[in-house]
Symmetry: C2
Subunit: 243 residues, 2 copies
């Protein structure tokens, strides 16, 4: 072996701390989701994720092509939490509804992740799995293929849009404030604003403020869901749409 001299002091220490867990795509995505849950989608920047990992932003680019890809990977990772049902043809409509509620549950438990989904053709394995079950359910219920093909699209659009709508003011709550309180405050402002509108120009809006602001998020979701399923079911040949 060579002479065992001490490392020259001008050759600076290789590392301050111990070597972190080796960077992989999985830990990057998992960390990004953690930041998402804690601070919202806007806060998920390359730098922020890297910081959480104790490294620099540039290090991420070896495992992820960029921010866009990271966001898609986050979406797919989140969709892994969606519990998929065993297809029971006799309950296809109810199962479709349950699946929708399940997706909504996962969406709303991850802040504004739904923003990533809208305007994105699903390619991740978990996203595809959900689409697969949707198609299976509709085909089992006798929905024609062409209709089912359109319906998955519409279905996804609805889920995305609803989840985004749900997170409007939650996402904009200033840090440190109670999101629910902030939401209620804003909501009351909107009500007051609408009531103060000129009655001659907006008679229906002014007269229906309570109806417009009445329903909770769940009511709105169930309303649209009901309409959607009924509409899809109405395309099943030789069967009554509504019981």
């Amino acid at each position: 072996m060579g002479t065992d001299i001490p490392t020259p002091p001008w050759r600076k220490q290789r590392r301050a701390g111990p070597v972190r867990q080796p960077l992989t795509q999985e830990v990057i995505v998992a960390t990004a989701v953690r930041v998402l849950d804690g601070e919202g989608l806007e806060a998920v920047s390359m730098r922020r994720v890297a910081q959480e990992l104790g490294t620099g932003a540039a290090s991420l680019y070896a495992h992820v092509s960029g921010k866009e890809e990271l966001r898609e990977l986050m979406l797919d990772a989140v969709f892994a939490e969606v519990e998929l049902p065993e297809v029971d043809p006799s309950r296809w409509q109810e199962q479709l509804k349950e699946l929708a509620r399940e997706v909504r549950r996962v969406y709303t438990s991850h802040r504004d992740i739904a923003k990533v989904s809208l305007g994105l053709i699903p390619t991740g394995p978990n996203l595809l799995a959900v689409a697969e079950v949707q198609l299976a359910l509709m085909r089992a219920g006798g929905v024609p293929p062409s209709i089912a093909g359109l319906a998955v699209d519409t279905f996804g659009m609805y889920l995305d849009a609803d989840a985004i709508e749900d997170t409007i003011y939650v996402g904009r709550t200033p840090p440190g404030e109670d999101p629910w309180e902030h939401f209620q405050e804003r909501f009351e402002q909107i009500r007051a604003f609408m009531k103060a509108l000129p009655v001659d120009r907006y008679p229906h809006i002014v007269g229906m403020v309570d109806d417009l602001t009445g329903g909770s998020g769940d009511d709105r979701f169930e309303f649209g869901l009901e309409i959607l399923i009924r509409g899809i079911a109405s395309y099943v040949p030789d069967a009554d749409a509504d019981p």
Copy 2:
């Protein structure tokens, strides 16, 4: 009058060019919409708009509170182009559809402006005007107030989501390339990708690639629109939903 001496040369010229049109909120919003139409929503930055106006970004803040407000103002300005129908109670369903198509026309003629709308409670005069007509039509058709209140929300969500979905790849076309060509190319990639999927895991998707990618944007829109209107109409008491 004072002595007509020439301006001292050390007092530098007040202005290089002639005085621009005085900055107002209107011209700022109009300019922003122009940038939107030409380069997409992403390109609409404070600096970019200011540059177009021949000034600096800071100058805009005297007329607009920030980027968020500018985007809302842009949305409302665009909605001014929506032509509103005279309410004819006997044709309320058809008129609701026509209104939806009209909104879609305006949306798609302004790139990805729809992204601004989703997750935003409408407060601008033109946005409210559209909501007002929607409510008027539904009430004229006998839709109960509580249902109509929910439906405007769902209706808006649908229009927003559809418009966004429409502009996925158009918005991401690299500058200088033909958007349509780029779209077709991407579309073919997706088809090939889906066909190459493992059949045992995604049997329906693989078997229905043509159905999933078959419908045009217009088909998808009309499909969802039909379902939506039918669903709303089904809540009209003492009347058959479908003729």
